[in-house]
Symmetry: C3
Subunit: 169 residues, 3 copies
Protein backbone atom coordinates (compact mmCIF):
# COMPACT_ATOMS: atom_id res chain seq x y z
CA UNK A 1 0.00 0.00 0.00
CA UNK A 2 1.45 3.37 -0.96
CA UNK A 3 0.86 6.66 0.78
CA UNK A 4 -1.03 7.86 -2.23
CA UNK A 5 -3.39 4.90 -2.27
CA UNK A 6 -3.97 5.15 1.44
CA UNK A 7 -4.77 8.84 1.20
CA UNK A 8 -7.26 8.37 -1.57
CA UNK A 9 -9.49 6.12 0.55
CA UNK A 10 -8.83 8.28 3.61
CA UNK A 11 -9.99 11.22 1.58
CA UNK A 12 -13.45 9.79 0.94
CA UNK A 13 -13.93 8.78 4.57
CA UNK A 14 -12.80 12.21 5.61
CA UNK A 15 -15.32 13.89 3.33
CA UNK A 16 -18.05 11.95 5.09
CA UNK A 17 -16.76 12.92 8.55
CA UNK A 18 -16.32 16.56 7.60
CA UNK A 19 -19.82 16.67 6.22
CA UNK A 20 -21.34 15.12 9.38
CA UNK A 21 -19.55 17.61 11.58
CA UNK A 22 -20.49 20.56 9.34
CA UNK A 23 -24.16 19.65 9.79
CA UNK A 24 -23.74 19.19 13.53
CA UNK A 25 -22.14 22.63 13.65
CA UNK A 26 -24.96 24.16 11.57
CA UNK A 27 -27.50 22.70 13.99
CA UNK A 28 -25.60 24.02 17.01
CA UNK A 29 -25.31 27.54 15.59
CA UNK A 30 -29.00 27.54 14.55
CA UNK A 31 -30.17 26.57 18.04
CA UNK A 32 -27.79 29.00 19.69
CA UNK A 33 -29.10 31.96 17.65
CA UNK A 34 -32.68 31.14 18.73
CA UNK A 35 -31.79 30.53 22.37
CA UNK A 36 -29.82 33.80 22.49
CA UNK A 37 -32.78 35.70 21.01
CA UNK A 38 -30.67 36.69 17.99
CA UNK A 39 -33.75 36.14 15.81
CA UNK A 40 -32.55 38.49 13.06
CA UNK A 41 -29.85 35.92 12.26
CA UNK A 42 -32.38 33.12 11.88
CA UNK A 43 -33.28 33.67 8.17
CA UNK A 44 -29.57 33.67 7.28
CA UNK A 45 -29.36 29.96 8.11
CA UNK A 46 -31.52 29.35 5.03
CA UNK A 47 -30.75 29.47 1.33
CA UNK A 48 -32.44 32.45 -0.45
CA UNK A 49 -35.08 30.03 -1.79
CA UNK A 50 -35.09 28.05 1.46
CA UNK A 51 -38.34 26.57 2.77
CA UNK A 52 -39.45 26.38 6.40
CA UNK A 53 -42.43 24.38 7.62
CA UNK A 54 -43.85 23.44 10.99
CA UNK A 55 -46.23 20.50 11.10
CA UNK A 56 -47.17 17.66 13.45
CA UNK A 57 -46.47 13.94 13.31
CA UNK A 58 -50.24 13.41 13.26
CA UNK A 59 -50.64 15.65 10.20
CA UNK A 60 -47.93 13.73 8.37
CA UNK A 61 -49.42 10.35 9.29
CA UNK A 62 -52.78 11.46 7.92
CA UNK A 63 -51.23 12.82 4.72
CA UNK A 64 -52.10 16.46 5.32
CA UNK A 65 -49.62 18.45 3.28
CA UNK A 66 -50.10 21.85 4.84
CA UNK A 67 -48.66 22.47 8.26
CA UNK A 68 -48.96 25.09 10.94
CA UNK A 69 -46.36 27.41 9.53
CA UNK A 70 -45.17 27.55 5.95
CA UNK A 71 -42.60 29.86 4.37
CA UNK A 72 -40.98 29.44 0.99
CA UNK A 73 -38.18 31.99 0.93
CA UNK A 74 -35.65 33.69 3.14
CA UNK A 75 -37.44 36.98 2.53
CA UNK A 76 -40.60 35.55 4.11
CA UNK A 77 -38.61 34.49 7.13
CA UNK A 78 -37.19 38.00 7.49
CA UNK A 79 -40.71 39.47 7.33
CA UNK A 80 -41.81 37.04 9.98
CA UNK A 81 -39.09 38.19 12.36
CA UNK A 82 -39.88 41.87 11.72
CA UNK A 83 -43.54 41.27 12.49
CA UNK A 84 -42.60 39.35 15.59
CA UNK A 85 -40.41 42.16 16.91
CA UNK A 86 -43.07 44.80 16.19
CA UNK A 87 -45.99 42.90 17.63
CA UNK A 88 -44.01 41.88 20.65
CA UNK A 89 -47.04 40.15 22.06
CA UNK A 90 -45.24 37.24 23.55
CA UNK A 91 -44.34 37.18 27.19
CA UNK A 92 -40.69 37.55 28.07
CA UNK A 93 -39.33 34.07 27.82
CA UNK A 94 -36.29 32.13 26.78
CA UNK A 95 -35.91 28.87 24.94
CA UNK A 96 -33.33 26.15 25.30
CA UNK A 97 -32.89 23.66 22.49
CA UNK A 98 -31.12 20.38 23.08
CA UNK A 99 -30.53 18.42 19.90
CA UNK A 100 -29.48 14.85 19.31
CA UNK A 101 -26.89 13.87 16.73
CA UNK A 102 -28.06 14.45 13.15
CA UNK A 103 -28.64 11.29 11.12
CA UNK A 104 -27.21 12.25 7.77
CA UNK A 105 -27.96 10.59 4.46
CA UNK A 106 -26.71 11.49 1.02
CA UNK A 107 -28.65 10.71 -2.14
CA UNK A 108 -28.07 11.99 -5.66
CA UNK A 109 -25.75 14.66 -4.32
CA UNK A 110 -28.38 15.89 -1.88
CA UNK A 111 -27.81 15.84 1.85
CA UNK A 112 -30.65 15.20 4.23
CA UNK A 113 -30.50 15.15 8.02
CA UNK A 114 -32.94 14.11 10.70
CA UNK A 115 -32.35 15.49 14.17
CA UNK A 116 -34.40 14.94 17.33
CA UNK A 117 -34.94 17.92 19.58
CA UNK A 118 -36.40 18.94 22.92
CA UNK A 119 -37.09 22.59 23.62
CA UNK A 120 -37.55 23.93 27.13
CA UNK A 121 -39.30 27.26 27.71
CA UNK A 122 -38.11 29.41 30.59
CA UNK A 123 -40.59 32.10 31.61
CA UNK A 124 -39.52 35.46 32.99
CA UNK A 125 -40.48 34.19 36.43
CA UNK A 126 -37.95 31.39 36.04
CA UNK A 127 -40.52 28.65 35.64
CA UNK A 128 -39.22 25.99 33.24
CA UNK A 129 -41.19 23.44 31.23
CA UNK A 130 -40.80 21.17 28.24
CA UNK A 131 -42.31 23.28 25.48
CA UNK A 132 -41.88 21.15 22.37
CA UNK A 133 -40.38 17.88 21.20
CA UNK A 134 -40.03 16.53 17.69
CA UNK A 135 -37.59 16.15 14.88
CA UNK A 136 -36.10 18.30 12.18
CA UNK A 137 -36.25 16.84 8.70
CA UNK A 138 -33.80 18.94 6.74
CA UNK A 139 -32.35 19.21 3.27
CA UNK A 140 -28.95 20.82 3.47
CA UNK A 141 -26.89 22.77 0.95
CA UNK A 142 -23.17 22.41 1.59
CA UNK A 143 -20.72 24.48 -0.44
CA UNK A 144 -17.67 26.68 -0.10
CA UNK A 145 -19.69 29.32 1.75
CA UNK A 146 -20.68 26.77 4.40
CA UNK A 147 -23.86 24.87 5.21
CA UNK A 148 -27.38 26.29 4.92
CA UNK A 149 -30.88 24.85 4.97
CA UNK A 150 -32.52 24.30 1.58
CA UNK A 151 -35.56 23.07 3.53
CA UNK A 152 -36.36 22.60 7.19
CA UNK A 153 -39.47 20.72 8.22
CA UNK A 154 -40.16 20.86 11.96
CA UNK A 155 -42.29 17.84 12.87
CA UNK A 156 -43.83 18.30 16.32
CA UNK A 157 -44.75 15.24 18.39
CA UNK A 158 -47.68 16.93 20.11
CA UNK A 159 -50.90 18.09 18.52
CA UNK A 160 -51.24 20.76 21.17
CA UNK A 161 -49.82 23.71 19.34
CA UNK A 162 -49.30 26.74 21.47
CA UNK A 163 -51.09 29.68 19.89
CA UNK A 164 -48.07 31.70 20.89
CA UNK A 165 -45.87 29.67 18.59
CA UNK A 166 -44.34 32.88 17.38
CA UNK A 167 -40.70 32.15 18.09
CA UNK A 168 -39.14 29.92 15.44
CA UNK A 169 -38.35 26.35 16.43
Amino acid sequence: MTGEHDCSSLSSVLRRLTCDLAIQDLNARYAEALDDDRLEEWPEFFRPDGRYHITTAENIAQGFPIGIVSATSRAMLRDRIKALRQANVYEAQRYRHVLGAPRVTSQNGELTARTSFMVARIMHTGETMIFATGCYQDRIALNGAGATFAEKVVVLDSRLVDTLLAIPL
Copy 2:
Protein backbone atom coordinates in the same frame (compact mmCIF):
# COMPACT_ATOMS: atom_id res chain seq x y z
CA MET B 1 7.85 13.46 6.76
CA THR B 2 6.66 11.54 3.71
CA GLY B 3 3.09 11.22 2.54
CA GLU B 4 3.18 7.54 3.38
CA HIS B 5 4.31 8.07 6.93
CA ASP B 6 1.79 10.84 7.46
CA CYS B 7 -1.01 8.68 6.16
CA SER B 8 -0.16 5.77 8.42
CA SER B 9 -0.73 7.82 11.57
CA LEU B 10 -3.71 9.56 9.97
CA SER B 11 -5.15 6.16 9.31
CA SER B 12 -5.23 5.14 12.98
CA VAL B 13 -6.77 8.46 14.06
CA LEU B 14 -9.30 8.09 11.31
CA ARG B 15 -10.27 4.61 12.45
CA ARG B 16 -11.05 6.07 15.86
CA LEU B 17 -13.15 8.89 14.38
CA THR B 18 -15.00 6.58 12.04
CA CYS B 19 -15.78 4.24 14.89
CA ASP B 20 -17.12 7.07 17.11
CA LEU B 21 -19.37 8.33 14.35
CA ALA B 22 -20.60 4.82 13.48
CA ILE B 23 -21.76 4.41 17.08
CA GLN B 24 -23.36 7.86 17.10
CA ASP B 25 -25.21 6.90 13.93
CA LEU B 26 -26.32 3.55 15.40
CA ASN B 27 -27.72 5.40 18.41
CA ALA B 28 -29.54 7.91 16.20
CA ARG B 29 -31.11 5.20 14.03
CA TYR B 30 -32.10 3.15 17.10
CA ALA B 31 -33.86 6.10 18.73
CA GLU B 32 -35.51 7.12 15.48
CA ALA B 33 -37.02 3.65 14.94
CA LEU B 34 -38.57 3.74 18.42
CA ASP B 35 -39.80 7.32 18.13
CA ASP B 36 -41.34 6.56 14.71
CA ASP B 37 -43.12 3.51 16.15
CA ARG B 38 -41.23 1.23 13.74
CA LEU B 39 -40.94 -1.31 16.55
CA GLU B 40 -40.53 -4.28 14.20
CA GLU B 41 -37.12 -2.88 13.26
CA TRP B 42 -35.99 -2.73 16.88
CA PRO B 43 -34.69 -6.34 17.22
CA GLU B 44 -32.61 -5.87 14.07
CA PHE B 45 -30.35 -3.42 15.89
CA PHE B 46 -29.11 -6.38 17.94
CA ARG B 47 -26.80 -9.25 17.09
CA PRO B 48 -28.63 -12.62 16.87
CA ASP B 49 -27.29 -13.47 20.35
CA GLY B 50 -27.70 -9.89 21.53
CA ARG B 51 -28.78 -9.18 25.10
CA TYR B 52 -31.15 -6.45 26.27
CA HIS B 53 -31.69 -5.49 29.89
CA ILE B 54 -33.53 -2.73 31.70
CA THR B 55 -32.54 -2.06 35.29
CA THR B 56 -32.25 0.88 37.70
CA ALA B 57 -29.23 2.69 39.10
CA GLU B 58 -30.44 1.68 42.55
CA ASN B 59 -30.48 -2.02 41.59
CA ILE B 60 -26.94 -1.77 40.27
CA ALA B 61 -25.71 0.06 43.37
CA GLN B 62 -27.16 -2.68 45.57
CA GLY B 63 -25.66 -5.44 43.41
CA PHE B 64 -28.96 -6.89 42.22
CA PRO B 65 -28.15 -8.71 39.00
CA ILE B 66 -31.65 -9.11 37.63
CA GLY B 67 -33.37 -6.11 36.19
CA ILE B 68 -36.86 -5.20 35.15
CA VAL B 69 -36.61 -6.59 31.64
CA SER B 70 -34.17 -9.22 30.45
CA ALA B 71 -33.84 -10.76 26.99
CA THR B 72 -30.94 -12.84 25.75
CA SER B 73 -31.52 -13.14 22.00
CA ARG B 74 -32.87 -11.26 19.04
CA ALA B 75 -35.64 -13.87 18.77
CA MET B 76 -36.88 -12.93 22.26
CA LEU B 77 -36.97 -9.30 21.23
CA ARG B 78 -39.05 -10.17 18.18
CA ASP B 79 -41.50 -12.11 20.37
CA ARG B 80 -41.74 -9.16 22.68
CA ILE B 81 -42.74 -6.84 19.85
CA LYS B 82 -45.32 -9.32 18.52
CA ALA B 83 -46.90 -9.60 21.95
CA LEU B 84 -46.87 -5.86 22.30
CA ARG B 85 -48.66 -5.34 19.00
CA GLN B 86 -51.28 -8.01 19.79
CA ALA B 87 -51.99 -6.88 23.33
CA ASN B 88 -52.13 -3.26 22.31
CA VAL B 89 -53.00 -2.29 25.86
CA TYR B 90 -50.99 0.88 25.94
CA GLU B 91 -52.62 4.20 25.33
CA ALA B 92 -51.80 5.92 22.08
CA GLN B 93 -48.61 7.76 22.78
CA ARG B 94 -45.33 8.78 21.21
CA TYR B 95 -41.83 8.88 22.58
CA ARG B 96 -39.00 11.26 21.87
CA HIS B 97 -35.46 10.23 22.74
CA VAL B 98 -32.73 12.81 23.02
CA LEU B 99 -29.30 11.27 23.46
CA GLY B 100 -25.98 12.78 24.47
CA ALA B 101 -22.74 11.92 22.72
CA PRO B 102 -21.65 8.32 23.28
CA ARG B 103 -18.50 7.90 25.40
CA VAL B 104 -16.69 5.16 23.54
CA THR B 105 -13.98 2.93 24.96
CA SER B 106 -12.15 0.09 23.29
CA GLN B 107 -10.64 -2.81 25.24
CA ASN B 108 -9.32 -6.11 23.95
CA GLY B 109 -10.96 -5.47 20.60
CA GLU B 110 -14.35 -4.88 22.24
CA LEU B 111 -16.16 -1.58 21.92
CA THR B 112 -18.26 -0.23 24.75
CA ALA B 113 -20.29 2.95 24.79
CA ARG B 114 -22.09 4.87 27.50
CA THR B 115 -24.77 7.30 26.37
CA SER B 116 -27.04 9.49 28.51
CA PHE B 117 -30.66 9.81 27.45
CA MET B 118 -33.88 11.63 28.22
CA VAL B 119 -37.14 10.30 26.89
CA ALA B 120 -40.27 12.43 26.70
CA ARG B 121 -43.70 10.81 26.39
CA ILE B 122 -46.33 12.58 24.34
CA MET B 123 -49.88 11.38 25.03
CA HIS B 124 -52.57 11.33 22.38
CA THR B 125 -54.02 14.45 23.99
CA GLY B 126 -50.73 16.23 23.33
CA GLU B 127 -49.66 16.33 26.96
CA THR B 128 -45.88 15.99 27.19
CA MET B 129 -43.78 14.86 30.16
CA ILE B 130 -40.31 13.57 30.95
CA PHE B 131 -40.89 9.83 30.98
CA ALA B 132 -37.46 8.35 31.67
CA THR B 133 -33.85 9.39 32.11
CA GLY B 134 -30.78 7.25 32.43
CA CYS B 135 -27.87 5.89 30.47
CA TYR B 136 -27.26 3.14 27.97
CA GLN B 137 -24.32 0.87 28.75
CA ASP B 138 -23.66 -0.91 25.49
CA ARG B 139 -21.29 -3.44 24.01
CA ILE B 140 -21.10 -2.92 20.29
CA ALA B 141 -20.18 -5.22 17.41
CA LEU B 142 -18.70 -3.34 14.48
CA ASN B 143 -17.99 -5.14 11.24
CA GLY B 144 -18.43 -4.89 7.50
CA ALA B 145 -22.20 -5.21 7.85
CA GLY B 146 -22.30 -2.18 10.15
CA ALA B 147 -22.77 -1.67 13.88
CA THR B 148 -25.12 -3.73 16.08
CA PHE B 149 -25.61 -4.14 19.80
CA ALA B 150 -24.02 -7.23 21.37
CA GLU B 151 -25.54 -6.04 24.66
CA LYS B 152 -27.58 -3.06 25.70
CA VAL B 153 -28.17 -2.34 29.38
CA VAL B 154 -30.67 0.45 30.01
CA VAL B 155 -29.96 1.91 33.45
CA LEU B 156 -32.88 4.04 34.63
CA ASP B 157 -32.27 6.85 37.12
CA SER B 158 -35.67 6.56 38.74
CA ARG B 159 -36.98 3.67 40.80
CA LEU B 160 -40.51 4.53 39.74
CA VAL B 161 -40.95 2.11 36.90
CA ASP B 162 -44.06 2.63 34.91
CA THR B 163 -46.02 -0.62 34.81
CA LEU B 164 -46.78 0.24 31.21
CA LEU B 165 -43.09 0.02 30.35
CA ALA B 166 -44.02 -1.98 27.30
CA ILE B 167 -42.34 0.14 24.66
CA PRO B 168 -38.61 -0.51 24.41
CA LEU B 169 -36.30 2.19 25.69
Copy 3:
Protein backbone atom coordinates in the same frame (compact mmCIF):
# COMPACT_ATOMS: atom_id res chain seq x y z
CA MET C 1 -2.13 15.42 -6.80
CA THR C 2 0.41 13.36 -4.90
CA GLY C 3 -0.17 11.33 -1.80
CA GLU C 4 2.00 13.72 0.15
CA HIS C 5 0.07 16.77 -0.93
CA ASP C 6 -3.24 15.10 -0.24
CA CYS C 7 -2.13 14.09 3.24
CA SER C 8 -0.98 17.55 4.17
CA SER C 9 -4.47 19.03 3.70
CA LEU C 10 -6.05 15.93 5.21
CA SER C 11 -3.87 16.46 8.22
CA SER C 12 -5.25 19.91 8.97
CA VAL C 13 -8.85 18.78 8.55
CA LEU C 14 -8.11 15.83 10.78
CA ARG C 15 -6.70 18.08 13.49
CA ARG C 16 -10.00 19.96 13.51
CA LEU C 17 -12.05 16.76 13.71
CA THR C 18 -9.87 15.27 16.43
CA CYS C 19 -10.16 18.45 18.44
CA ASP C 20 -13.98 18.54 18.13
CA LEU C 21 -14.27 14.96 19.26
CA ALA C 22 -11.81 15.46 22.15
CA ILE C 23 -14.06 18.24 23.48
CA GLN C 24 -17.20 16.15 22.98
CA ASP C 25 -15.49 13.36 24.94
CA LEU C 26 -14.44 15.77 27.72
CA ASN C 27 -18.05 16.95 28.02
CA ALA C 28 -19.36 13.38 28.15
CA ARG C 29 -16.89 12.32 30.85
CA TYR C 30 -17.59 15.48 32.87
CA ALA C 31 -21.35 14.90 32.85
CA GLU C 32 -20.93 11.21 33.59
CA ALA C 33 -18.82 11.87 36.70
CA LEU C 34 -21.51 14.20 38.07
CA ASP C 35 -24.40 11.90 37.19
CA ASP C 36 -22.60 8.92 38.78
CA ASP C 37 -22.02 10.94 41.97
CA ARG C 38 -18.23 10.62 41.51
CA LEU C 39 -17.90 14.21 42.71
CA GLU C 40 -14.29 13.77 43.88
CA GLU C 41 -13.30 13.46 40.22
CA TRP C 42 -14.96 16.75 39.31
CA PRO C 43 -12.05 19.12 40.14
CA GLU C 44 -9.71 16.97 38.04
CA PHE C 45 -11.51 18.08 34.87
CA PHE C 46 -10.04 21.54 35.48
CA ARG C 47 -6.54 22.92 35.03
CA PRO C 48 -4.80 23.70 38.39
CA ASP C 49 -5.58 27.39 37.82
CA GLY C 50 -8.97 26.57 36.30
CA ARG C 51 -11.94 28.85 36.93
CA TYR C 52 -15.54 27.80 37.52
CA HIS C 53 -18.50 30.17 37.59
CA ILE C 54 -22.25 29.81 37.73
CA THR C 55 -24.33 32.77 36.64
CA THR C 56 -27.64 33.50 34.90
CA ALA C 57 -28.42 34.80 31.43
CA GLU C 58 -30.16 37.74 33.12
CA ASN C 59 -27.02 38.62 35.10
CA ILE C 60 -24.94 38.56 31.94
CA ALA C 61 -27.45 40.69 30.01
CA GLN C 62 -27.36 43.29 32.79
CA GLY C 63 -23.56 43.26 32.92
CA PHE C 64 -23.25 41.89 36.45
CA PRO C 65 -19.82 40.32 36.61
CA ILE C 66 -20.24 38.24 39.73
CA GLY C 67 -22.32 35.13 39.54
CA ILE C 68 -23.86 32.71 41.97
CA VAL C 69 -20.80 30.52 42.37
CA SER C 70 -17.22 31.54 41.69
CA ALA C 71 -14.05 29.51 42.13
CA THR C 72 -10.63 30.36 40.74
CA SER C 73 -8.55 27.24 41.29
CA ARG C 74 -8.80 23.48 41.32
CA ALA C 75 -7.98 23.56 45.05
CA MET C 76 -11.14 25.61 45.70
CA LEU C 77 -13.18 23.06 43.80
CA ARG C 78 -11.72 20.26 45.92
CA ASP C 79 -12.62 22.15 49.10
CA ARG C 80 -16.12 22.62 47.81
CA ILE C 81 -16.60 18.90 47.32
CA LYS C 82 -15.18 18.09 50.76
CA ALA C 83 -17.59 20.56 52.37
CA LEU C 84 -20.43 19.12 50.36
CA ARG C 85 -19.70 15.57 51.48
CA GLN C 86 -19.38 16.60 55.14
CA ALA C 87 -22.46 18.77 55.26
CA ASN C 88 -24.52 16.22 53.41
CA VAL C 89 -27.56 18.41 53.75
CA TYR C 90 -29.00 17.68 50.38
CA GLU C 91 -31.70 15.11 49.92
CA ALA C 92 -30.74 11.89 48.20
CA GLN C 93 -31.08 12.67 44.53
CA ARG C 94 -29.52 11.98 41.18
CA TYR C 95 -28.88 14.20 38.22
CA ARG C 96 -28.95 13.45 34.52
CA HIS C 97 -27.21 15.78 32.12
CA VAL C 98 -28.02 15.72 28.44
CA LEU C 99 -25.72 17.90 26.38
CA GLY C 100 -25.93 19.12 22.82
CA ALA C 101 -22.96 19.13 20.47
CA PRO C 102 -20.25 21.61 21.49
CA ARG C 103 -19.81 24.55 19.14
CA VAL C 104 -16.06 24.87 19.01
CA THR C 105 -14.12 27.96 17.95
CA SER C 106 -10.39 28.48 17.86
CA GLN C 107 -8.79 31.89 18.20
CA ASN C 108 -5.15 32.78 18.82
CA GLY C 109 -4.42 29.21 19.77
CA GLU C 110 -7.22 29.18 22.36
CA LEU C 111 -10.15 26.82 22.12
CA THR C 112 -13.59 27.86 23.25
CA ALA C 113 -16.73 25.75 23.26
CA ARG C 114 -20.38 26.53 23.86
CA THR C 115 -22.61 23.62 24.79
CA SER C 116 -26.33 23.63 25.60
CA PHE C 117 -27.50 21.43 28.47
CA MET C 118 -30.61 20.18 30.22
CA VAL C 119 -30.30 18.64 33.65
CA ALA C 120 -33.03 16.48 35.13
CA ARG C 121 -33.17 15.86 38.87
CA ILE C 122 -34.40 12.49 40.08
CA MET C 123 -35.45 12.46 43.74
CA HIS C 124 -35.08 9.41 45.96
CA THR C 125 -38.80 8.85 45.56
CA GLY C 126 -38.30 8.55 41.81
CA GLU C 127 -39.97 11.84 40.97
CA THR C 128 -38.24 13.44 37.97
CA MET C 129 -38.21 17.08 36.90
CA ILE C 130 -36.25 19.46 34.71
CA PHE C 131 -33.88 21.03 37.21
CA ALA C 132 -31.76 23.37 35.11
CA THR C 133 -31.19 24.43 31.53
CA GLY C 134 -28.52 26.67 30.09
CA CYS C 135 -25.23 26.64 28.31
CA TYR C 136 -21.62 26.03 29.17
CA GLN C 137 -19.22 28.68 27.92
CA ASP C 138 -15.83 27.02 28.21
CA ARG C 139 -12.20 27.73 27.50
CA ILE C 140 -10.39 24.49 26.93
CA ALA C 141 -6.74 23.47 27.30
CA LEU C 142 -5.81 20.68 24.94
CA ASN C 143 -2.38 19.09 25.19
CA GLY C 144 -0.64 15.72 25.33
CA ALA C 145 -2.20 14.96 28.69
CA GLY C 146 -5.70 15.40 27.24
CA ALA C 147 -8.37 18.08 27.48
CA THR C 148 -9.16 20.08 30.62
CA PHE C 149 -11.17 23.19 31.40
CA ALA C 150 -9.19 26.41 31.75
CA GLU C 151 -12.53 28.09 32.50
CA LYS C 152 -16.11 26.91 32.68
CA VAL C 153 -18.94 29.43 32.91
CA VAL C 154 -22.33 27.85 33.55
CA VAL C 155 -25.00 30.25 32.28
CA LEU C 156 -28.42 29.30 33.65
CA ASP C 157 -31.55 30.26 31.72
CA SER C 158 -33.70 30.63 34.80
CA ARG C 159 -33.36 33.23 37.50
CA LEU C 160 -34.88 30.82 40.00
CA VAL C 161 -31.76 29.45 41.58
CA ASP C 162 -32.33 26.55 43.87
CA THR C 163 -30.79 27.34 47.25
CA LEU C 164 -29.70 23.74 47.31
CA LEU C 165 -27.51 24.31 44.28
CA ALA C 166 -24.79 22.38 46.04
CA ILE C 167 -24.08 19.77 43.40
CA PRO C 168 -21.90 21.09 40.59
CA LEU C 169 -23.55 21.65 37.24
